[in-house]
Amino acid sequence: MELEQILARLLEAATQVLQADAAMVRLLDDRGRELTTAVTVGLPDHDSAVEPVAVDQSALDREVLSGRTVILDEIQEDVRGATLPQDYCSALCVPLNREGEPLGTLYIYATGAQCFSEPHSELLAPLVDLAAEAVAGNRAYAKLKEQEASRGQFIRIATHELRSPIAVAQSLLRNVVKGYAGELNEPQRDIFARINRRLDFMQTLVNDLLDLAAGKSPELGEDEQAVAVNASVGRAVLLVQPRAEEKDIELSLDPCCEELVVQASEEGLDRIFVNLVDNAVKYTPAGGSVRVSLGRKDEEIQVAVSDNGIGIPKEALSHLYEEFYRARNAKKVDAVGTGLGLAIVKDLVDRYNGRIEVESELGQGTTFTVAFPVLREEAPVSGRAVSGRAVSDSSVKTMIAQP
């Protein structure tokens, strides 16, 4: 429930309990200088009392914010002004604070004179506490979101800055390795090959970090549209195919009979499947097999990526989606993986309201299953012919036909 709705309900309850006529919650800004009206009950919209109030210009608000409850029996002419609405003779003014920190004010009004007294204030106490909790909770949540976005921003900038020097170093190294800087002897060739591999790893890491940071970025949601799952999985399989062939791994695709569509970013969805299929191929020894199958179960589309590879040790299962985590047997196969692949997958799956499950037996194989809510069953707009990523239905069918 939104903060405004919670506060509105609390104010309604408060005015009923006290048999009052109107109420208002004002919230203090970060700098503690201004009170802005958050919610009102029983007040006409145009009432001047709903304007923001500068704290240093209102003695009444300053007193309330310091933690004191103020009861006004007969609202005097001189007390009226920016703070108090017209037509009301009595007011009960209560601070909203949490752990001593002022968050705002809650004012209850009655048209009669001398309507409020101490017992009223006590009656109100539990509702006021709830209101304060709601406001504090909302602030903490907003701050968390801000920090996450800011952290994402930092990673984005830092890794972006790293890109350039790495690319330049690689460009120079390629010249050396290809002989443009003179003949190389054996030890030199060996050293440069090692440096090259490390630079390639750094480049992968930077790209993965950028993807991870982008996944946490609030702007990503704008990219979402209806994406066809069969086509997305098809693209991923096509991309990984050459690597599977190199290792003599049988990579097969069993698409869903219906063309199902989910709400996601095309790039993000592709990324999920590429990571999962690539992992399956990476961690399966030569001659093994990887099977990708799609199916519909009620309102979900499920994609299973199954391999007969090295499997995942039990103790690794609870850490699988942690950033930079790599299981010990994974490290033996590929000493220099980034450990970000599954963290990126989990991030994206969560973002698209999906879920991911894994079943694995050490030494036998692993099956990852991701499931997404089906958006609808229409045939989508045919895949964009961009960056050579178009996959027609015929090419998907060809893949099934291959043994």
Binding site: A167, V168, A169, S171, R174, Y180, N207, S387
Partner: protein, 135 residues
């Protein structure tokens, strides 16, 4: 001997470009800012321009190519409009770049993605020079 102008602000990247290009026999000229680059185009009249997409600002490379290809009749670069431009890019630089060279998006003739492979660089330069000599 064909003249190539490389507009690139990173001296190390320039070194990486120079090696294969000079080995191929091209005469290499350089500029380290977009502004300097545009001046040198007029001064040298190169047969091909290599342009980094990002220099002092994120759009420096774009700006240079837009200037060079300006359809304005009184553009100071009118006579250089047909000089082939090879752009150096980084993946994820901008979405539009992933759509490949396209007059509507960005007036360059081809791209080389960083890190630069010297053989790929030479191949693309040769192709562009051949095409512009014929056309």
């Amino acid at each position: 001997m064909p003249k190539i102008l490389a507009i690139e602000d990173d001296p190390d990247m320039l070194a990486a470009l120079r090696m294969p290009l000079e080995a191929q026999g091209y005469e290499l000229f350089t500029a380290t800012t977009g502004e300097e680059g545009l001046e040198k185009v007029k001064e040298i009249a190169p047969d091909l321009i290599i342009l980094d997409v990002m220099m002092e600002t994120a759009t420096a490379g774009f700006q240079v190519s837009l200037e060079l290809r300006s359809p304005d009749e009184d553009s100071p670069y009118a006579e250089y409009r047909d000089t082939p431009i090879l752009m150096l890019t980084a993946i994820h630089t901008t979405t539009s770049l992933r759509f490949g060279p396209d007059e509507a998006y960005l007036p360059v003739d081809d791209f080389v993605e960083k890190p630069v492979d010297p053989d790929e660089l030479v191949e693309k330069v040769e192709l562009l020079l051949k095409q512009s000599a014929v056309g």
